[in-house]
């Protein structure tokens, strides 16, 4: 019995001459939130489609919950819930009717769907709105309905394609709390769950896994593990803290004025590898072991050039700093 819920080995998908996915290997454990992070066109969506068996890989193997995606695609799909960026719902139907529709499409029987739907609506916080028309829901509630629809079959693997595009931080926060709760408690949904489409749930192995794709670092930082994708490849993979720690002590934050002068001064310093401008400050990446040296000389340099330094300090690296550093190679 494998420890991984999802195992993909050396996946490739070529469209004519385009290498959309070019040698991706993925191992996702039960209870893990894995982030596929990269820009549009990096290969995130193609990877997701390969995982659900909607596309055939040019090379490589995938198993989901122990099923071979190439040979047992039906079994695989019965284990997967998918929330796409533009999931569709019937605006004229009520919340409960929408869930019922998804449940019946996925083959749930009359006796099964209602109690299960109510459990899930309770979980996402829509139980009080079960009779409201979907078209009358706020953006955040629509998103929760989408999540509920994806969860109605009690999938072991939840795929979320840029799930919080277009929603405000409060809603996004709520959504993430749900996702984290979903993976951290095996008994979150079904209390009477000895049998779920033939797959027994038990302790650790019974936890749901989530794979989420996003171009945004603030979302990536909420995942347990992150794979940075570029040109169809995963160029780095680890927990956000480990990825960030690679640059520990090497990111300085500089605030002062005028920003242009600060930027030019920082660029000139030979121990500075990179300067990134933000609205009211700069992030400066320095060579290994050079932060103290830069802290001393850069301030002097700026003042003698007629600029002003309000603050220059070492800050904890952000995932964005790591992504940019990695992209240079």
């Amino acid at each position: 019995m494998t420890d991984y819920l999802v195992q993909a080995t050396n996946l490739k998908k070529y469209f004519k001459t385009v290498k959309a996915v070019d040698g991706v290997s993925l191992h996702v454990k039960p209870g893990e939130i894995y982030g596929l992070v990269g820009s549009d066109g990096a290969g995130k969506t193609t990877t997701m489609r390969l995982l659900v068996g909607a596309l055939k890989p040019s090379a490589g193997e995938i198993t989901v919950c122990g099923f071979d995606v190439a040979k047992q695609v039906e079994q695989v799909r019965s284990q997967i819930g998918y929330l796409s960026q533009r999931f569709s719902m019937y605006e004229d139907l009520s919340v409960l009717e929408n869930i019922r529709f998804f449940a019946e499409v996925r083959g749930l029987s009359q006796t099964e769907w209602l109690p299960r739907s109510m459990e899930i609506l309770e979980f996402v916080g829509l139980a009080d709105f079960k009779d409201r028309r979907a078209g009358q829901l706020s953006g955040g509630m629509k998103q929760k309905l989408g999540l509920a629809s994806a969860l109605v079959t009690r999938p072991r693997l939840l795929l979320l394609d840029e799930p919080t595009t277009g929603v405000d931080p409060v809603t996004r926060q709520d959504f993430w709390q749900l996702v984290i709760k979903l993976v951290s408690t095996p008994l979150h949904l079904p209390q009477n769950s000895e049998n779920l489409g033939g797959v027994a749930r038990s302790a650790e192995g019974g936890r749901v896994s989530v794979i989420i794709s996003t171009p945004y670092m603030d979302e990536a930082s909420r995942c347990h593990r992150v794979g940075f994708m570029k040109n169809g490849k995963i160029i780095a993979e680890d927990t956000p803290s480990v990825l960030r720690s690679q640059l520990n002590g090497r990111i300085l934050e500089l605030r002062g004025s005028p920003l242009n002068l600060l930027r030019h001064a920082a660029h000139k310093d030979s121990d500075v590898e990179d300067v990134q401008a933000f609205g009211d400050r700069l992030h400066i990446r320095v060579s290994e072991g050079k932060s103290q040296a830069v802290l001393k000389k850069l301030k002097k340099e700026i003042v003698s050039a007629g600029g002003q330094v309000d603050e220059l300090r070492v800050v904890p690296p952000a995932l964005e700093d790591v992504f940019i550093a990695l992209s240079e190679h």
């Binding site: 939130i33 992070v37 990269g38 820009s39 549009d40 066109g41 990096a42 706020s138 953006g139 595009t165 277009g166 929603v167 405000d168 931080p169 409060v170 809603t171 926060q173 993430w176 709390q177 984290i180 709760k181 951290s184 408690t185 171009p215 945004y216 670092m217 603030d218 930082s221 909420r222 995942c223 347990h224 570029k230 927990t239 956000p240 803290s241 605030r255 242009n260 990134q276 401008a277 933000f278 609205g279 009211d280 400050r281 800050v315 904890p316 964005e320 992504f323 940019i324 992209s327």
Partner: protein, 300 residues
Amino acid sequence: METVIKVENLTRKFGDFVAVDHINFEVNAGEVVGYLGPNGSGKTTTIRMLLGLLAPSEGQATVLGYDVHRQSEEVRARVGYMSQKFAIYDDLTALENLTFYGGVYGIKDRARILHTLELVGLKGHEQTLTRDMSTGWRQRLSLGIALVHEPKLLFLDEPTSGVDPTARRAFWDLIYELAENGVTIFVTTHYMDEAEYCERVGVMRDGKLLAMDTPTNLKRTVIKGDVWEVFAHPLEQGLEILHDMDGVERVGLAGDHLRVISSKVKKTAMQSLLSKAGLSVEKIERGEPTLEDVFLALAR
């Protein structure tokens, strides 16, 4: 300093619904200002009023010295607008797209059009079909289209959504260059990542402008407490305990740890409370406040 946008008590009602509710702010020449808020918070209604496409119900606004309502044509001739939803013709090359949109503004000067392409970093790609371009390149072409008539003020609507940090950064380097040359930039967005690139950020919610300041000042003034990252197991239980702890202002799940904001609580106090409850505490570290923390604090 020259005031480019001046908004006074600007209000727009649709029936009983107040989409924009008595907002006030000013933007100076060469500033890069963000307007951050969720969909439906009143961002687009504000922009439509600033572009003279929608009459205010109350209050007034001037853009580049022109009254947006009474002199809207003067305004529109002098500002650029870039949106993700803006149509770029897929079957046309970069140059053809720009020539087409230049024509809309009455610009036929080929040198100007080529210069604009160069400005947005697409020199050498004049003949590339737009459909073969990456998202990052298409965004630059959209920027070129918004710039071809050399506006003094540029409105950007979520200009870098969907791209990774390297592409976003290349785009913003262009924006800073424009600002250095005196162009004023006004960015509407609901992405925190994008707002971080602005010199000042206004936070919109339910039609109200809750605050407008530099990201650093917003973080300092709105988030009065310290930010802690708490790595403890089980996470759920830690969430409940810290939520009920005296002096904790906010606690949330953040993947593999908890994010706690508090001005009173000490690291050791959290440590001992969690340990006493039987949790294993791996580490508790200082975190940095984010614009998301600011938004959550203002919104609740």
